[in-house]
C-alpha cells in the first residue's frame, strides 16, 4: 500500500488528511453562503460599496484586460451623472454596424464592455456618439418610494478607427443598461442605432488570475515532492551555509566570556516570514545558552511575537533540563513604536554590554541605530534579514550578515523538523525554473513576441 502523501508519521505526528477534507467541506459551505445573501452582508457589516473603488487608491490605472492587438479599450468612468443635453434635430440616417454590449469579465459586476464596429459611413461623418442609460433602482427602503434616477453615460469618438471599445464603470450590478450609438457629422446627429441591452453582474472567477494559480500549483507540486522525499528518509544534500558557524562561534564566545546574549527577533508581526525564520533560530540559540548558563535577553516589539518567543525560550530551557535557569524577565515586550523600541534596545546594549548581539528578522530604518551602537561596544554581531534595503547597513556594522534567503536557509538548517530542508530544495528547484522562464523570455522578446510578457502581467 503506497504511503499516502501525508501518512501517519511513526512518531505520532499529526496526519493532514482529515485537515484537507475539513478544508474542502468548509469551503463548499462558505462560498454559497456568501453568494446567497450579498444584500445581507452588503448593508450591515461591510463598509459602503464605494469602498470597492476606493480600495485601489493611487494604484496604476486598471488597463482593460484586453490581450488582443486591437486598440486597447479606453477605460473611462465619468465622475458625476449629468442630465443629457437633448441632441439637435436628427438628419442623418442611423449608423449601420455591429454594436455589442456585454458584462465586463473578471469584475465585481459594476461595468459593461461595449464594442462598436461601424460598416457603412456617410462621407461627411466626423465621429460617433455613444449613449448608455441605466435606471438605478430606487435607493432606500421599499416603503418611501424614491423615483428611479436614470444614470446616463455619454462618450464621443472621432471617426478614425474601424473598431471602438470602451468599458463603462460605476454601474449598479444586476440592472439592465441600454446602449445605442449615433453618427455625428459636425453638429448634426443621426437617429440612434437599435438599442443593445447588457446586464453587469459580478463574476465568480477572475480568468486573468489563472497564471498566478498555475504558478502556485507548480510550487505546491515541488514542495510536496521534496517534503515526501525527506519524510521517506532520502538523503537531501544542502551545502553548508557559512552563516551557521558564525552563529555557533558567536554564542560560544558569549558563553566563554560569561557575558549575556542579546537576541532581537525583528520588528515585524508574527505573520511575517522573517519573524518565523528568526524564531526557529532562537530555539537552538536558547538551548545553547541554557546548557552554558548564559544570560539571554530577548526584547520584542510585537506582543504576539513576545508570547511565542517566551514559549520557545521556556521550552528550549526545559529540553536541556535546566528549567530552573529560565528567567521570566529575560523575554519581554517594550513598545510597538519603531524608534521607541530602537532607543530601548540601545539602552540595553550599552548598559548590559552583551558579548553577542543577534539581529534576525524584519527590520526597517532603525536597523543601523541598533547595529552601530552594538558595534561601538565591541560585541560580535550576527544579522539576518530579508529587508533588501537594510542589508547594506547590516553589512557595514555587523560581523556576519545572512542575506535574504540565507536567513530562511539557516532557519531550515537549525530548525528541528528534517522536512524543512525539503522545502529548501523545493525553493531551489523553482529557482531554476524561474531562470528558465527568464531565458525563455529573452528569446521570445528577441523574436518580437510579447506573449510571455502578457502572461506575467499583474492581473487587475
Amino acid at each position: 500500500m503506497t504511503r499516502t502523501l501525508f501518512s501517519q508519521q511513526p512518531s505520532g505526528g499529526f496526519t493532514a488528511q482529515p485537515l484537507l477534507w475539513s478544508v474542502i467541506l468548509v469551503l463548499a459551505l462558505a462560498t454559497p453562503l456568501y453568494a446567497e445573501a450579498p444584500a445581507a452582508t452588503d448593508s450591515s457589516a461591510a463598509p459602503p460599496a464605494s469602498a470597492g473603488s476606493a480600495a485601489s487608491p493611487a494604484s496604476p490605472p486598471p488597463a482593460a484586460p484586453d490581450t488582443s492587438a486591437r486598440q486597447p479599450a479606453l477605460r473611462y468612468s465619468s465622475v458625476t451623472p449629468e442630465a443629457a443635453a437633448p441632441p439637435p434635430m436628427p438628419l442623418l440616417p442611423p449608423p449601420t454596424g455591429i454594436l455589442s454590449a456585454e458584462d465586463a469579465p473578471n469584475d465585481a459586476g459594476k461595468a459593461i464592455l461595449v464594442t462598436w464596429r461601424p460598416q457603412s459611413a456617410p462621407d461627411d461623418l466626423t465621429g460617433y456618439r455613444l449613449r448608455a442609460e441605466q435606471l438605478k433602482p430606487a435607493a432606500g427602503k421599499a416603503n418611501e418610494e424614491k423615483p428611479a434616477t436614470p444614470y446616463v453615460f455619454e462618450h464621443s469618438w472621432p471617426a478614425n478607427q474601424e473598431e471602438y471599445r470602451i468599458v463603462i464603470e460605476k454601474l449598479v450590478p444586476g440592472v439592465a443598461v441600454n446602449v445605442s450609438v449615433q453618427a455625428v457629422a459636425g453638429d448634426r446627429y443621426s437617429e440612434p442605432s437599435p438599442v443593445q441591452i447588457a446586464v453587469p453582474k459580478g463574476n465568480w472567477f477572475h480568468t486573468g488570475k489563472i497564471p498566478v494559480g498555475l504558478a502556485l500549483a507548480v510550487f505546491i507540486g515541488f514542495l510536496l515532492i521534496f517534503v515526501q522525499k525527506s519524510r521517506s528518509g532520502a538523503k537531501l544534500f544542502v551545502r553548508k551555509i557559512a552563516g551557521l558557524e558564525a552563529v555557533e562561534d558567536a554564542v560560544g564566545r558569549a558563553t566563554e566570556m560569561g557575558r549575556s546574549i542579546l537576541y532581537v527577533p525583528g520588528l515585524s508581526s508574527i505573520s511575517d516570514v522573517a519573524t518565523i525564520a528568526s524564531l526557529s533560530i532562537l530555539a537552538p540559540v536558547a538551548r545553547k545558552a541554557a546548557t552554558y548558563a548564559t544570560k539571554l535577553i530577548v526584547p520584542n516589539r510585537d506582543p504576539i511575537v513576545f508570547t511565542v518567543a517566551r514559549e520557545v525560550v521556556k521550552t528550549s530551557f526545559n529540553q536541556v533540563g535546566r528549567p530552573d535557569l529560565y528567567d521570566d524577565n529575560s523575554v519581554f515586550f517594550i513598545t510597538d513604536s519603531q524608534f521607541g523600541f530602537a532607543a530601548a534596545v540601545d539602552g540595553i546594549i550599552v548598559r548590559e554590554r552583551p558579548a553577542t548581539n543577534f539581529f534576525l528578522g524584519m527590520f526597517w530604518a532603525e536597523s543601523l541605530v541598533m547595529a552601530e551602537t552594538g558595534a561601538a561596544t565591541g560585541a560580535i554581531q550576527i544579522a539576518g534579514t530579508d529587508a533588501v534595503n537594510q542589508i547594506p547597513f547590516f553589512i557595514v556594522s555587523c560581523d556576519y550578515t545572512l542575506m535574504g534567503e540565507e536567513l530562511y536557509a539557516a532557519s531550515a538548517y537549525l530548525g528541528t523538523e528534517p522536512i524543512l530542508l525539503g522545502t529548501l530544495k523545493a525553493q531551489d528547484a523553482v529557482k531554476l525554473l524561474i531562470l528558465g522562464v527568464i531565458i525563455l523570455g529573452v528569446v521570445t522578446s528577441l523574436v518580437g513576441s510579447t506573449a510571455l510578457f502578457d502572461i506575467l502581467r499583474p492581473p487587475q
Binding site: S53, S56, A58, P60, P61, L74, S77, V79, T80, E82
Partner: protein, 301 residues
C-alpha cells in the same frame, strides 16, 4: 605609529565633526554654487514658453508634512515662477493631507507676487479617486471640481471660462513622494498627450529616470537638490529682469527678509548636505589612507 591614529579615530570626534559640518554652513549662511541639471532646466523652460500663450500651469500637490521638507520648496519655486510670468496657476491635490500644503504654498507665493486668488491662481482643493480626476480633467475641469477649496462654485470663475481642460493647460506638474506622478504620466501623459513634469523625493527619483529617457516626462526635480536648482534658475531670471529688487523695495524690511529666506529654503538645506557628504567621504578616504599605509608598512616591515 602616528598613522595608526588615522585607523581608529574616536567615534565621538567623528560625530562632533559631522555635527559641525551641518551647523557651520547653516549659521555662516555658506552659499555654494548650485549646478543646474538638464532635467530641472527643461521644466523651467517649459514654463517660460507658456508666457503670453494664455495657457495655465496645473500643479498637483500630493504630499504631506512628512515629505514636505523635500517637496515644499520646489512647489513654491514653481508657483513663484508662474506668478512672476503672469501664467495662471491651477492648484489641486489628490491626498487629503495635501490641502494644508497647497493652501500654505499658494498663499505665501501669491502674497509675495501680489497674485489675486480666482484671477491669477485657483486652488481647487482635494478630489478623489485619483484616476477619475486625472481622466476627468481631459473633459471639463468644472465637472471634476464643482467648487474651489474655499467653496466658490467653479462655473462663476472667469479664469475657468478660458481654462476648460488639458488643451488649455500648458504643463501639468505632479509633486509627490508617492507613485502618483507615474499615474499622471500614464493618464494625462499618454491618453491626452499633456506635457507632464514631476517633483519627487530623492528616494523615488531613481524609479522615474526611465520616464525621462522615453521623454514621457518633460522634466523632473529630485529631492531637495531639484528644488535648489529651480530656486537658482528663478533667482538668476529675476536678477536679470531686476524684478526682485523692485518687489522687495516695495515691502517692509521684515516681509522682505522673510520672503528672501523662504526663497532660499532648498539651497539652505543643500549647503550643509554638500559639506556633510564631503565630511563622510573625507573620513572614508582617511580611514583607507591609514589602512593602506599601515598594511603596506606591516607587509614590507
Amino acid at each position: 605609529m602616528k598613522l595608526k591614529a588615522l585607523l581608529n579615530i574616536d567615534r565621538r570626534i567623528i560625530y562632533l565633526i559631522m555635527l559641525l559640518s551641518v551647523i557651520i554652513p547653516l549659521v555662516a549662511k555658506l552659499d555654494l554654487p548650485t549646478k543646474v541639471t538638464s532635467e530641472v532646466e527643461s521644466i523651467f523652460n517649459a514654463i517660460e514658453a507658456l508666457q503670453g500663450t494664455g495657457k495655465a500651469v496645473l500643479i498637483s500637490i500630493d504630499y504631506d508634512p512628512s515629505t514636505a521638507p523635500e517637496l515644499h520648496p520646489m512647489s513654491k519655486a514653481v508657483m513663484r515662477h508662474a506668478m512672476l510670468r503672469r501664467i495662471p496657476v491651477l492648484g489641486i491635490t489628490l491626498l487629503p493631507q495635501g490641502i494644508g500644503m497647497g493652501v500654505d504654498a499658494l498663499g505665501t507665493t501669491a502674497r509675495e507676487y501680489g497674485a489675486k486668488s480666482l484671477e491669477d491662481y485657483v486652488f481647487l482643493g482635494f478630489q478623489t479617486p485619483p484616476l477619475s480626476v486625472m481622466l476627468g480633467l481631459g473633459e471639463d475641469i468644472r465637472r471634476v471640481f464643482p467648487e474651489t477649496y474655499d467653496k466658490v462654485p467653479t462655473d462663476t470663475i472667469p479664469l475657468l471660462e478660458r481654462i476648460k481642460n488639458y488643451d488649455d493647460i500648458g504643463l501639468t506638474i505632479s509633486i509627490s513622494g508617492t507613485s502618483i506622478p507615474m499615474s499622471w504620466v500614464a493618464t494625462a501623459g499618454t491618453r491626452f498627450n499633456q506635457p507632464v513634469a514631476a517633483g519627487v523625493t530623492a528616494v523615488s527619483a531613481a524609479d522615474l529616470y526611465p520616464f525621462l529617457q522615453t521623454n514621457q516626462l518633460v522634466g523632473m526635480m529630485g529631492g531637495v537638490k531639484g528644488g535648489a536648482e529651480y530656486e537658482e534658475l528663478l533667482d538668476r531670471l529675476e536678477a536679470r529682469l531686476g524684478t526682485a529688487e523692485q518687489r522687495f523695495a516695495a515691502m517692509t524690511a521684515e516681509d522682505a527678509a522673510m520672503y528672501k529666506t523662504d526663497r532660499y529654503m532648498a539651497r539652505q538645506i543643500m549647503n550643509p548636505q554638500s559639506i556633510a557628504h564631503l565630511t563622510i567621504i573625507a573620513f572614508v578616504l582617511l580611514g583607507n589612507v591609514g589602512y593602506l599605509l599601515t598594511e603596506r608598512g606591516r607587509k614590507r616591515g
